[in-house]
């Protein structure tokens, strides 16, 4: 397992926007990691896939939306975005409906993704 580059970080996002601050916090950790030179990947897992909906807006109490943050990811060189294929089906979504480009990953491939990163942070 020691052949994994020490700077590979996987941030797992398991919550949608607005219901809690987990999504924004996870994205902020990803940005901090990238700002510090980490090679960051994101996995949108379970409910986390709803963070990628194009139609999302600011919250009813003017909470910031996540769309500008998602669109900013390439500026931090965060280009490796994975999305839980099973959850896409659960929420009746397809890849081309997402706000940023992402690659599908099947449930049996999620464990590979975990093994390939030096550090995995769950949000």
């Amino acid at each position: 397992m020691n052949d994994i580059a020490f700077n590979r970080l996987l941030v797992v996002l398991r919550h949608g926007p607005h219901g809690s601050s987990w999504l924004r916090e996870g994205l902020e950790v990803a940005l901090v990691g990238a700002a510090l030179g980490q090679d960051v990947s994101l996995l949108f897992y379970g409910e986390g896939v709803t963070a990628l909906l194009k139609e999302q807006q600011v919250g009813p109490l003017a909470q910031k939306g996540t769309q500008p943050m998602l669109e900013m990811l390439p500026m931090y060189d965060i280009e490796s975005l994975w999305v839980d294929a099973e959850a896409l089906a659960t929420y009746d979504l397809t890849l081309d409906e997402l706000v940023v480009p992402a690659k599908e990953v099947g449930r049996h491939e999620v464990s590979d993704l975990f093994q390939r990163h030096r550090l995995v942070l769950n949000f």
Binding site: E28, A34, A35, P68, M75
Partner: protein
């Protein structure tokens, strides 16, 4: 969004602009080029056309993404707008000694970059 209490006021012509403890604007809408000039003058910095290019890029970044950039994305945004010669941290360090992302955000009237050491 005002994030902190007023610590002091900056004199800009006949106006007084409220600042926080780290001299960032309390109200981002207060920003004008004259505010940037006054902030820079206070710190003994002179704003040349090259500085204004960076300020433009910073303000555009905030407008698009609602966050002030740290160094890495600022360098990338400079590259995209002005090419690789100006998309270098050393270039930005010469224009804004100390910390280009923090100093630049302050003078450009943005909040302090959150993910920036």
């Amino acid at each position: 969004m005002p994030s902190s209490e007023i610590y002091r006021y900056l004199d800009v012509g006949r106006n007084k602009v409220p600042l926080d403890t780290e001299s960032y604007l309390i109200h981002l809408n207060d920003w004008t080029p004259a505010v940037a000039q006054a902030m820079a003058a206070e710190e003994g910095r002179e704003l040349t056309d090259l500085h204004w290019e960076v300020i433009e890029v910073l303000r555009d970044f905030y407008h698009r993404f609602e966050m002030a950039p740290s160094m890495r994305p600022l360098v990338k945004a400079m590259t995209q707008t002005y090419g690789p010669e100006k998309g270098k941290s050393i270039y930005l360090m010469r224009l804004f000694p100390d910390s280009p992302a923090k100093v630049g955000a302050r003078i450009a009237g943005l909040p302090k970059p959150a993910n920036c050491l």
